[in-house]
């Protein structure tokens, strides 16, 4: 599904953020990428969604070589990868329904399709009864679930979660991880980028550990090493 071949990236000359990264994530896998701050985890996310270009190597997603992806093709790539972040990135003046619908509207989705799909994804994340509330009227965990619902509207093959529990208490964080596992069960490849030791250890799924821009460990049922 996702293949990195000797991928290197440096923002300033001499300071490599990613150093000859090789990884292969299979379709339907649940993979955690862990590491301390500044080790290159977010750069992996950025290169995966075409936000950053790599200096060397090759990145292939679902058979599509995105190494030299053009600006025109980036939106097409992003519709195939759902992304959620620590800060949810919700629009405060829109209801939860409108926030999710917004993702479809800006990509040209027709109103009938939006009316059909949005309630469906809101049901998946368990917020079907709160669709007319505003982001500030729901808890942090619910806000993140809205972000997940938004990431799901394009039915992505990959769901990329960059520190999704960073702003949540342990109970809400646990609920979000449960939701990600449920989405993974439907066949979506989930990549969880985190430095939350407890969550990673409890998951008992594949763990890739990055340190100083290099993969120092890749285990099928791994634990948080650092």
């Amino acid at each position: 599904m996702i293949k990195y071949y000797n991928v290197s990236k440096e923002y300033t000359p001499g300071a490599r953020v990613l150093n000859r990264i090789n990884l292969h994530i299979k379709p339907g896998e649940f993979t955690s990428i862990v590491g301390q701050s500044g080790t290159g985890k977010t750069t992996v996310v950025k290169t995966l969604i075409g936000e950053e270009k790599i200096d060397n190597g090759k990145i292939v997603i679902g058979g599509w070589d995105i190494t030299n992806i053009s600006q025109r093709e980036v939106p097409v790539l992003r519709r195939q990868i759902g992304v959620i972040f620590q800060d949810f990135k919700l629009l405060p003046r829109k209801t939860l329904f409108e926030n999710v619908a917004f993702a479809m509207q800006v990509c040209g989705g027709n109103p009938r399709k939006i009316k059909r799909i949005v309630p469906h994804v809101m049901k998946i994340v368990g917020l079907e009864k709160k669709v007319y509330r505003y982001p500030q009227e729901v808890s942090g965990g619910e806000g993140q679930r809205v972000a997940i619902a938004r990431a799901l509207v394009h039915r992505p093959k990959i769901l990329l979660a960059d520190e999704p529990t960073g702003n949540l208490d342990s109970l809400n964080a646990h609920e979000i991880i449960e939701l990600l596992l449920r989405i993974n069960k439907f066949g979506t490849t989930v990549i969880l980028v985190t430095h939350n030791r407890e969550i990673v250890n409890r998951l008992r799924r594949r763990v890739i550990t990055i340190d100083n821009g290099q993969i120092i460990s890749d285990r099928e049922k791994g634990r948080y090493l650092l």
């Binding site: 600006q71 040209g108 109103p111």
Partner: protein, 303 residues
Amino acid sequence: MFLSIIRIIKFSLQDIGRNIWLSLVTVIILILSLFTVNMLLVVKVIGDTAVDAVRDKIDINLFLKSESGEEDILSLKTKLANLDEVKEVNYISKQAALENFRKTHANNPEILESLREIGNNPLTPNLIIRPNSLDEFDNLINKINTFDDEIIESRNFTNYKIMLNKINFITEKVSKAGLFLSTIFLFITILVVYNSVRVAIYTHRREITIMRLVGASKWFIQMPFLLSGIIYTLFGLIAVMGLFYPFLTLLQPYLETFFVGYNVNLIQYFYGQAHIIFGLEFIAVAFVNIIASHLAVRKYSSV
């Protein structure tokens, strides 16, 4: 596609609405720019009318003695008509001059009463000479001065050339000042539109981030801001049209009083040419605004 265009228009109007005061300032600056440009046009129309009015009056009057014989007058008329610089010579007899005088002063009973009191016709016959062109006016005067016919009583050589030069000078100065003002306003417009779009992008940075994240095309993200430039132009132009026609209605009576007997109808002119004047202004200003918006979008939209 159609749906996307509708959404782009909606987002663009949202951009304008969320920064309503800034949008208002932008439109006001546009109104000032467009108003100045249209004032330039008004000056041009008035200037042209004034020049035409003076041109129309360019003639030389040769007043002849009352007792001049018809034969002598016609002989002088032929001599004058044969000059290269002369376009035509009209003979106004004593009787015709009196009739013209009565017509001109038909609304002035005091003058007509005075004429009646005099009893006989006090006017003299005259020859009205029209030059071929204004450039030959001086030559013609010199030649006419050499005519020493005894039937000539007096000559009226008002120097219209000086008057025309003055009108042209004033029109040119006003046009230059207007052009200078328009350029300044245009420059301010570019800066204001650029800034408005920049602020609109700033207030929408969260939306832009989300749009980029969920896979909206670059075109879809940037178009609402470019469209804002066109919408500002449209609002500005509608406002100028709404202000300009009442302004012309107020100005028109003064012009009619000033140019009595001449057809100077600014309202008619601006109605007749509206599609060209305002169409061209829309295209030009929209073009400038799109460039300003494009520069702002290119620099700031990659949130």
